[in-house]
């Protein structure tokens, strides 16, 4: 007898329990393509998005999804198309082709419903400098027709840590506090999706840590799409990252996978005068992989913090090989990123 406990097409494990074959849903591993992870609700769906300015393709066939409870990082060099994509999702710019949906509402066909579910923090955090913090938040609450506006404003002021500054004019606040005001107005109407364009740009290190923590907390309840070109930020805050370069989607993977690809690896190039056995080379302590570059030249990969040159020398001595060249290179995170986005 077969009991199907779940109707989702997830990866299933088969347990042989006595006379019964039981199909159980298994914890989704992050090696699955994202469109099989259907148990979390998709809140932002972008398909084949296209934006053309004259001859330039600012956004070129970009497709991705974002789910509730997820912080999605948009990574890419300046001018890659991150901000343009975000402006299309928020409804500021129209797309030249493709579709963008927020919580099932098409941003072009049903703009009012889509916009009501999006909280947006634009790139330079534009604010009315001569308004007071609470006045501005009350105005935003009025526009969004938030119920219990005054209470909600007070909640947001507390949540973003603006309590001591709530009576000041926005123009009087420092950059970090202005960024918090921007975040507060984005969260005020409790949207399901938050779109933050470079939320930590221009902040000092302390402020960056605080804002990142706030974003991480928000990410557990909502969908957060945040754009940045700081790789450390993606690692610190995001669950998944999308890399965009010159308008095209270059990578779409969970952070763990990207970390494995991006963690600096030490590359040691070694050349012997004689033939060396690949298997023996692979057995050197800390060596992760061995690649033959040509006649007696090998490239050994090791974790960035381990220097294997001493072991390679010892290996050469032990196997009576003449060492002609021993060279070490490390790819930093930035270099790998540059490689991907050349």
């Amino acid at each position: 007898m077969v009991f199907r406990l779940s109707s989702f097409p997830e990866k299933t494990e088969v347990f042989w329990g006595g006379r019964f074959l039981v199909l159980l849903p298994v914890q989704k591993s992050h090696f699955l393509p994202s469109h099989f992870l259907t148990s979390k609700k998709v809140s932002v769906k972008v398909s084949h998005l296209l934006k053309i300015y004259d001859t330039q393709r600012a956004v070129d066939d970009v497709t991705f999804e974002a789910r509730k409870g997820e912080v999605l990082g948009f990574l890419g060099p300046n001018g890659a198309g991150k901000t343009t994509t975000m402006k299309i999702i928020t409804g500021y710019l129209p797309q030249s082709g493709g579709k963008a949906e927020v919580c099932g509402f098409d941003v072009a066909e049903q703009p009012m419903e889509a916009r009501a579910r999006v909280g947006y923090l634009p790139e330079h955090n534009p604010l009315y400098r001569d308004m007071y913090v609470r006045e501005y938040l009350a105005f935003t609450a009025g526009v969004h027709k938030v119920k219990n506006a005054a209470k909600r404003v007070d909640e947001m002021v507390e949540r973003t840590g603006l309590v001591s500054h709530r009576h000041k004019q926005i123009g009087e606040l420092s950059k970090g506090y202005r960024q918090r005001v921007g975040l507060a107005q984005a969260m005020l109407h409790d949207p399901e999706v938050l779109i933050l364009d470079e939320p930590t740009s221009g902040l000092d290190p302390n402020q960056i840590v605080e804002i990142r923590q706030l974003i991480k907390d928000l990410g557990t309840e909502k969908t957060v799409i945040l754009s940045t070109h700081i790789l450390a930020e993606v690692e610190a805050v995001c669950d998944r990252a999308i890399i965009i370069n010159k308008g095209k989607l270059v990578a779409d993977a969970p952070i763990q996978e990207l970390k494995q690809q991006f963690t600096g690896q030490a590359l040691v190039t070694v050349e012997f005068a004689e033939n060396a056995d690949k298997n023996l080379l692979a057995k050197i302590k800390n060596v992760q992989s061995v690649k033959n570059l040509g006649k007696n030249q090998w490239q050994l990969t090791a974790p960035a913090d381990k220097d294997i040159r001493a072991e390679v020398f010892a290996f050469a001595v032990a196997n009576k090989l003449t060492l002609l060249e021993l060279r070490k290179e490390t790819y930093s995170v930035e270099e790998v990123f540059q490689q991907l986005t050349k």
């Binding site: 500021y92 916009r115 001569d130 308004m131 105005f139 009025g142």
Partner: protein
């Protein structure tokens, strides 16, 4: 729309703009009506407020663009337009809110001039010897005129991110729509044949017509059309990033 209206009014009165506009208007009107010998009612010897209604459009032609120049130009320059436009409100609601706020400010400026009415009322021989109906009609005409100028000013502001350009453009447009058609009607092409029609496109014709004290529906329709036309143009201009 009401939120935007409230916010704009608060901005007028939290900065100096609101007070300066009202102050300048009233001081200027007061000086012209009562102090300057050539124009003053006291030297005029007639119990009417014709000076007010004759001079006010000219003053509005400069004052109203000064009020409306920041409505959209400042938002475009500071980038707040991006936030405003991505809120769940329609473009018409945004334009409507800003238009009504500017109009309300101008109306606030006009309200104290009712004092002039009571002054002339008392100064008349005998007291009360003035054309109240005509004056009421003139006030209504002036309000419509102000509304039309505000619509023009808001449109000009939406075209640019530079407030000075918005001001100059608005002043020019106000001048053109108010006076120019009267001048144009004197061109040989039009004079004697279609000069009436050309004149009727201009605001002055309808404003003077309303000042007679009779609210002609043709004039009301005209003003409403002008206001609607410029507000629609503003909404179009607001949506031009979508083209």
């Amino acid at each position: 729309m009401f939120s935007i209206f409230k916010k704009e009014i608060n901005t007028f009165f939290s900065s100096l703009i609101g007070y300066i506009v009202i102050g300048v208007f009233l001081v200027l009107m007061g000086l012209i009506m009562w102090v300057f010998p050539e124009f003053s009612v006291l030297d005029n010897n007639y119990a009417n407020l014709d000076t007010l209604f004759g001079i006010a459009p000219m003053v509005f032609m400069f004052l109203i663009p000064a009020v409306t120049m920041r409505t959209f130009a400042e938002e475009t320059q500071s980038g707040t337009i991006e936030l405003l436009v991505t809120r769940p409100i329609t473009d018409w609601q945004i334009v409507g809110g800003k238009f009504l706020a500017c109009l309300a400010l101008v109306a606030f400026a006009l309200v104290p001039t009712v004092l002039y009415y009571f002054t002339v009322y008392q100064l008349g021989a005998p007291p009360g010897n003035l054309d109240s109906g005509g004056i009421l009609g003139s006030y209504i005409g002036l309000l419509f005129l102000a509304a039309a100028f505000v619509a023009i000013g808001v449109f000009a502001s939406s075209l640019t991110n530079n407030q000075i350009v918005a001001f100059v453009l608005a002043t020019f447009l106000c001048f053109f729509v108010y006076l120019a058609f009267d001048f144009l009607s004197r061109l040989p092409i039009f004079f004697g044949k279609t000069d009436d029609i050309v004149q009727a496109i201009g605001i002055e014709y309808h404003y003077n017509s309303m000042s007679r004290g009779v609210i002609d529906t043709r004039d009301v329709i005209y003003f409403v059309s002008v206001i609607a036309l410029f507000l629609a143009a503003t909404v179009l201009s607001l949506g031009r990033r979508r083209w």
